[in-house]
Symmetry: C2
Subunit: 231 residues, 2 copies
Amino acid sequence: MKQASKEEERSLQQTIDNLTEELEREKKVNKSQQKILEAAINLFSQRGYENSSTSDIAKEAGVAEVTLFRNFKSKHNLLYQILSPLFIKITSPVILKDVKKHFNDPEIDSEEVLTGVFKDRLEFIEKNQKVVQVLIREALNREEILHSIVKNITIPAKKEAYDFVHNKKENGEFRDVNEQAVVDLLFYTMFGYVLSHHVFQIDTFSNEQDEVIETMVDLLLNGIKKSPLKE
Amino acid sequence: MKQASKEEERSLQQTIDNLTEELEREKKVNKSQQKILEAAINLFSQRGYENSSTSDIAKEAGVAEVTLFRNFKSKHNLLYQILSPLFIKITSPVILKDVKKHFNDPEIDSEEVLTGVFKDRLEFIEKNQKVVQVLIREALNREEILHSIVKNITIPAKKEAYDFVHNKKENGEFRDVNEQAVVDLLFYTMFGYVLSHHVFQIDTFSNEQDEVIETMVDLLLNGIKKSPLKE
DNA sequence: AGTGAATGAAAGTGAACACTTACATTTTAC
DNA sequence: GTAAAATGTAAGTGTTCACTTTCATTCACT
């Protein structure tokens, strides 16, 4: 954060809106831009934003540093151009419909619903692993990013989960516990999983991801303790 | 990371060892040092290491910048002096005995054991909230820190948890699932909780912490689904 | 082949920053 | 009260960094 541009900086939400519009007008990203984006994603995710210089990024991309500034006005803007597509994809109606379908289908039993949603979301995160890393790291440095995450991701996701749990509780399938507590538990599990595997990349015991998810969902739904009528 | 000291930098583990020794010799931390440490903890936890200058820290501490460098040789060393006490406290035998006692007492039922450990560890983290924030943020920037966390905290904690689960499984109190899966689930829950509350500080639904923990442990042990013999 | 747009090479700007040095002043301990 | 230890003031060093400017070169398109 050494120098600020003369023109005011664009906010993350503005960048997102702008990019959405550009995508609709099918404005293409040229080769230099693509190379710079990829290089920046690599460096930001490895060393963090503050520890990656624009000179490093240009070198990694194989372009002149001035090309970076001509294509993206500032380093700050480059970061936002990297993060925006993630928000656009996550909040896209196409993807959300999928999740909602999972959540609301009363035919499918809860094990399948949860494993479906978990697998689906984890696949998405894996595909965008590096950008997710940058997002979460920078969320700690910029309140604006954290707010965007909460507003665009956390709150909507929790709302869906709440409705799901609420329905299952009314069905009599779920115990009579606070829906919010259940949602929080699911959230912590997911958050902890993503953070340790995809952000901190700590080795855990785990083997195959799909198996892990299924076991986890089973444990969450049926509990760790033995119960006479179960098994 | 602008300039490196002439003398090689001390590693985190070296700093920890050194500080432990100094504590044993009852070497006191003087007032300036204390003020600088507090100021640095505040700034590092708010803005991050890279975004806090030594000049800022000195100002916040109300001392001259040169005093910072006379007391702590470098900014890098200051960071390690902040983080080391956390490791010392966490790995101290006194504290560990407590946790082990919880885990291994066969008289207490598993609900109490888990809520006990959770509450105990969360209390510790809350007491050291700012330093924990710095630790986790910087773990993303320095592999050395991440390794120290895994070696001194994660692995020992998981080992204790594994034994606990293993015993309860042999008792017949726990279902016949993979111990590692259970440990992972407990770990993700705890990790997710700490990260969202104490690092990202995202608002969740939750009310009283103790109540949240009890509900969570209940859910984990007994499952979310209704079971005829439960409730 | 020729034109406009995108890129490169190179030098430079101004600011921030970690850290140093030299000397004066205050604090602490006996 | 005095000496030693700790702190302050102030100026400076060398470096890195985001970003700019100018001019030459290459590329895409017709």
